[in-house]
Every structure is written in C-alpha cells, then in structure tokens.
Amino acid sequence: MDFKFTIWILILPTLVFLFTGLLGKKMPAKISGWIGTASMATAMLLAYKTAYEYFFQVGFVDGIRPTIFAYKEVWMKFTDTLVFDMGILIDPISVLMLVVVTTVSFLVHLYSIGYMHGDQGYYKFFSFLSLFSVSMLALVVATNIFQIYFFWELVGVSSYLLIGFYYDKPSAVSAAKKAFIVTRFADLGFLIGILLLSFHAGTFDFMTLVSEDGPLLAQTAPPVFMGLSIFGVALSLIFVGGAGKSAMFPLHIWLPDAMEGPTPVSALIHAATMVVAGVYLVARLFPAFQGVDGGAVLHLVAWTGAISSLFAAIIAMTQDDIKRVLAYSTMSQIGYMMLALGVSGMEGHHGLGYMASMFHLFTHAMFKALLFLGAGSVIHAVHSNLMKDMGGLRKYMPITHITFLIACLAISGVPPFSGFFSKDEILAAAFEQNKILFAIEYAVAGLTAFYMFRIYFGIFWGKETVYKHTPHESPLTMSLPLLILAIATVFIGFIPFGHFVTADRALYDIHIDPMMAGASVGVGLIGILVAYILYKKESTLADGVSEMFGQGYTWAKDKFYMDEVYQFFAHKMMFAGVAAPVAWIDKNIVDGFMNGIGWITETFSMMLEDWQSGRVRQYAFSFILGLLVIIFAVLYLNGIIDFKG
C-alpha cells in the first residue's frame, strides 16, 4: 500500500485551476463549472479510496495506526537535518481532512453551478475555488511545518481572492483586505514560531518534532519567558498563527466581515475547511503541545477556545444578518474544538478531548456547510441577508427548510443528529479536566441552540412577509448538495470515531455517559424552547427581552466594540505613534537626503553650463591653455625651469 495515487488529489484541482483560469473566458461559462465539479468529484473518490485503504486495509500496526509517507521529496536543504521537504503524509487526521475538504469542496462546486449562474466572473470563481481546494489539500497532507506554512499562506491568498470576489463592492474589497491582513499578522507569530522551533530543534519534520525521543520531548529546556521554555514559546507563537486562521478571540474580527464573499465560499472556506486549519495545526503538533512544559501551552489553547466560543455565542444571539450569525457560530464551534484539544491528554481515555475535537471538526464541517448552503439558498430566493426581510419561507422552500432544520438540530446537540455525539464528547472531556471550562461550554451549548433556532424561526416561520417576487425552491444543483449534506448530518454521528482517530492512535471505544448526554440535550432543548417562545410568531416579546438586558444587549449587538478597539490601536496608536513619525522621517530625512544630492548636482551643473558653449574655438583655446599649464607644471616640478628667475 504505497498511496502513490494520492498525488492526483492535488494534481487534478491544480490542472483545473490553470485550465479554467487561463482559458475559461473563451469557453461557455457552464463548462468551467462542470469541469471543476467533475475534477473535485474525482478527487473526492480518490480521498475515499485513500480513507478506505488506510483505515481498513493498512489498519493497525502494533496496535496503532501508522504514519505513511506517500511522497517525500527534498526541496531545499539548509543543513543536514534542517531540510524542507515537499510530500504527502498519510495518517488518521490527514485522511480525515482529505475526506472533509474534498467532500465539502465537491458539494460547494456543485452548488455554485446553480448559485453563481449568470455571474460575470463565473469561470474565475471556479478557478479560484480550485486554487483554494488544492492549497487546502496540500496543507493537510504536509509532511513538515514549513510545507504547512507554505500552503497556509496560499490558502490565505485564495481566501482573499474569494472574499473579494465582488470586487466592485467597496465593502467586499475592504473585507478581503481585512481578512488577509489580520491573518497575515497572526502568521507573523506563526513564522517566528517556526523559526524558533526549527532553530532550536534543528528540524522542520513533523515526525521528528512529535516523536517521543525527538528534540522537543526528550530534552527539558530551561525556562526563558514567563515560565515557558524556548519550545513552549515557539509553540505558543505557532498557536497564534493557528488562532488567526481559526478566528479565535481576539483575532476573530475578520471572520464576520468575510461573509461579504459569495455564500458558497463562506460554506467552503469559513465553515468547513480553512477556519479549522488552526485546529488541525494544533492536532498535528499535539504530542508536542502536550509534552512541552507539561502542557502549559495547551492551557492557553483551552482558554482561548473557551473564551472565543462564549464571546462569539453571545454576539451571535444579537445579529440580524443571517450569514453573520453563522460566522459567529462557526467561531463558537471552533472554540469548542480548540477547547477539546486543550483539555486532552495522550493515552486512552485521557485522549478523549483530542478524539472529540476531531470528531466535532468532522461533523461541524458537514452541518455548518449545510447551514451556509441553506442560508445561501434563502438569500438566493429573497435577495437579502437580513432576517427582517425573511419570514414564513417554509411554504416556499420545503427542501431548504427541512435540511436547515436538520442542521440546526445537529448544531444544538439534539440526538440522533451528528452534532450531539461530538459535542457530548467534548463536554465530557471538559468535565473531567476543568469544571470552569465545562461550565462555560455547557452555557454555550444552550446559547448555541437559542441563536440557531432564533434564525431558523426568523427565516422559516415568524411574520408573513410580503415578497416582491414570490420565493421559489432553488434548482437541483443547489438542493442536491443540501440533501446530501443533510443525510450526512443525520448519519455520520453513528460512526465509531474512536476506531479511526485518537490521540495515541490506538483503538478507543466511545461510551456515552447518559448523565452527561441528558444534561447537554437538556440545555439544548431549553435554548430551542426559549427561541420558540420568542420567535415562533411575530411578537414584541423578543424586543422586551432585549430591553431587559439593556446596555448588555447593545454591547453584544455592537460586537463588544472589538472593531473599534482595533481601530483605536491601529489608528490612534499605530498610525499616530509609529507610522506618522516614520513617514515624517521618510519624507524629510531619507527623501531629503536624496533630494539634497540631486539639488547639489543640479546647482553645480548650472554653474558649469556656460563652459559648454558649443563654440569650437573656445574649446580649442581652453585646451591649449590647459596644455600650457600642464607643460609648465611638469617642467617646474621636474626642476627644468624655475620661476624665481
């Protein structure tokens, strides 16, 4: 089993990207869409083949799932140990991600054929989608931290292109820039982390970094900063990069704005794939996170996740733009995954958090993509993002309604939908490690159910809105992905996930604790019930409740002024304190120096200008005069003549 065929998962989208990008303009628009979809379908089947062969044919070696290098080619060699490879690494989490990314990407491609119908940049959209898919796929199969960084940035670029797809809309352009700059800023931390880690550990390779006798885990380095060793500092910085991509507090501000992009893009990038790259990165380096400095960095991961998930859930309850609610909900759910990693250990039952995190990543990718695609279907029908323009849509869009409901139930943790299983495991893992973190996540589970059903009732029930054009169900290319994802959402929760992905890669059987399950379902149902009372029918109840919270409600609605805080730091402090003086120095001192040189040369040459009259006799005269001076000087210096007489 050498998995040589996996390279085609990467090659196919690359070819499609080049083909549609270069030639798409000359072809009928439909073709680029179908080519992209077909190539992604092939890649998806190859990913399934990989998963089947890896999980069922390779199976366990000495009781654990092995790591297989399908390809590993040296690209740059810095020293004997510090080598930058390009390759394909096959292990449980990379196979999991291959399956998730190709599946969601395929469905989004299919959906976009209908959704982007008649758009000016149709071929360009599919070209960018392919570019994104290949970057993300190459990221998840990276064999070393440098390769992951390489494709990490490429993912950032393609995300920028897709968010700013409607480039004639100023808000889309600024959202794209914001997403790129904020994540790029976080990646600065990532890069410094990589440099520190590779300098002190002497390797980029994941296998060496996380191995028991590797440089990170075998040695104990002295503390250098706030009780962390140099490896701890490096891992914290790497986590900053991951937090930026995964929109963790306080680097989340780009995610809600990124909803300016077309809705299929939000489903692919900002729900299922790119935003979980940070979780994937922590999972990839998990043994290192867990082992270095006694897991101190993992506490940072856990608390960041918990704070982000609570913060996002509170904001999500107050937003009116349905895509923004989903964006904050994504942030909140990724917070869950981070937290689960943060409270996880390595062996057997202690590794529950890791398994739960990956499980939640898997289920969340499906139901969140479904939510986004459903929201896209609604937006497509009513031409608005705002909840106030919607209501009573269940009659017009039955398929969207049912699938959206399934996804809402899944995210609220109602059995037997997939979200219940993964969220339950996360709560169980948190409960065993840290009661405070558990309390936060338990509350967030209730809030999640509330805000999801708030938009569900707002869209499909609520007031009877009078529409200018009667909304109608979306075409088959759009409703088919919804149905497929809905089926997946119903059934994937029953996968015995512990048999496939665990922290120590050994077999683990999930036990559902009835107490825990009952408690988490209970809080979810309470959230749904509150939403039902407030939003099922048009009433003033909801406004009354928001009145009750007074100032708190306004704060949450204004996203706790995080944008303003950034604005303050960026404008008032960075611009006024750093950028303005630097600009002054540049304009006056650096440019002044250069201009001064130019001015001196110019003035001096003006003085000499008269000498160059163009009159040949004058030149001859000067020449002779000069010659005479030289002759006399030479004669005098050689003592042949003497002016003293």
Binding site: Q612, S613, G614, R615, V616, R617, A620, I624
Partner: protein
C-alpha cells in the same frame, strides 16, 4: 637634402608652422580659415616625423610611411570638413564658427 641644414633648423620651421596654425585656429572665425590652420598644424607634425626619421633612425622607413598615412588622412579630413561646412552654409547661410553652437547643452 641641402648640406648644413640640421635637425634643429627643420624643427624650428615645423614649430613656427605649428604655432601659426594654432594662432590661426584660435583667432579666426571663418571656418575655411580654421580648416587651413588645422592643415598647417598637421603638416608641421608630418615634417617632424620626416626629420626625426632621417636624423635619428636613418635606416628605418616607419616615419616616412606614417607621413604618407598622415597625408591621406588629412585629405580625407578636408573632404569631410568641406562637406560639413557646405551643408552648414546651406542651412545657416554663414560659415562663422562661433555661430555653430546649436548642439551645445
């Protein structure tokens, strides 16, 4: 060669011719005069070649050969200069060297 004329006599003549040419070059404005002055200077140099070859290296002929080259080059140069002067005259209706400054910076 006439008896009694030594190297210094010939050099004196060539020096006088050279400085006459130089003086003419600096003082005259007429381009034909300038051309004549240049020819004078060139010929004084040619005379030097001949006299040095005869008195210093009697067995050799390089000096003579070089003089022949010089004459040929001088002839070509005159042809060129006359052509330039004529075209300048056609353009500006003048052959005053001081008016010929349209190429100055």
């Amino acid at each position: 060669m006439i008896e009694g004329i030594g190297v210094f006599d010939v050099l004196a003549v060539s020096t006088i011719i050279f400085f006459v040419g130089l003086f003419g070059f600096v003082t005259r404005k007429n381009m034909i005069s300038l051309l004549i002055s240049i020819e004078l200077m060139l010929n004084s140099v040619a005379l030097n070649f001949v006299v040095f070859n005869k008195f210093l290296y009697p067995g050799n002929i390089q000096g003579y050969i070089f003089t022949l080259f010089l004459i040929a080059v001088a002839a070509a140069e005159v042809a060129l200069a006359i052509a330039i002067i004529i075209s300048f005259y056609r353009m500006d209706n003048s052959i005053d060297a001081d008016e010929m400054d349209s190429l100055s910076g």
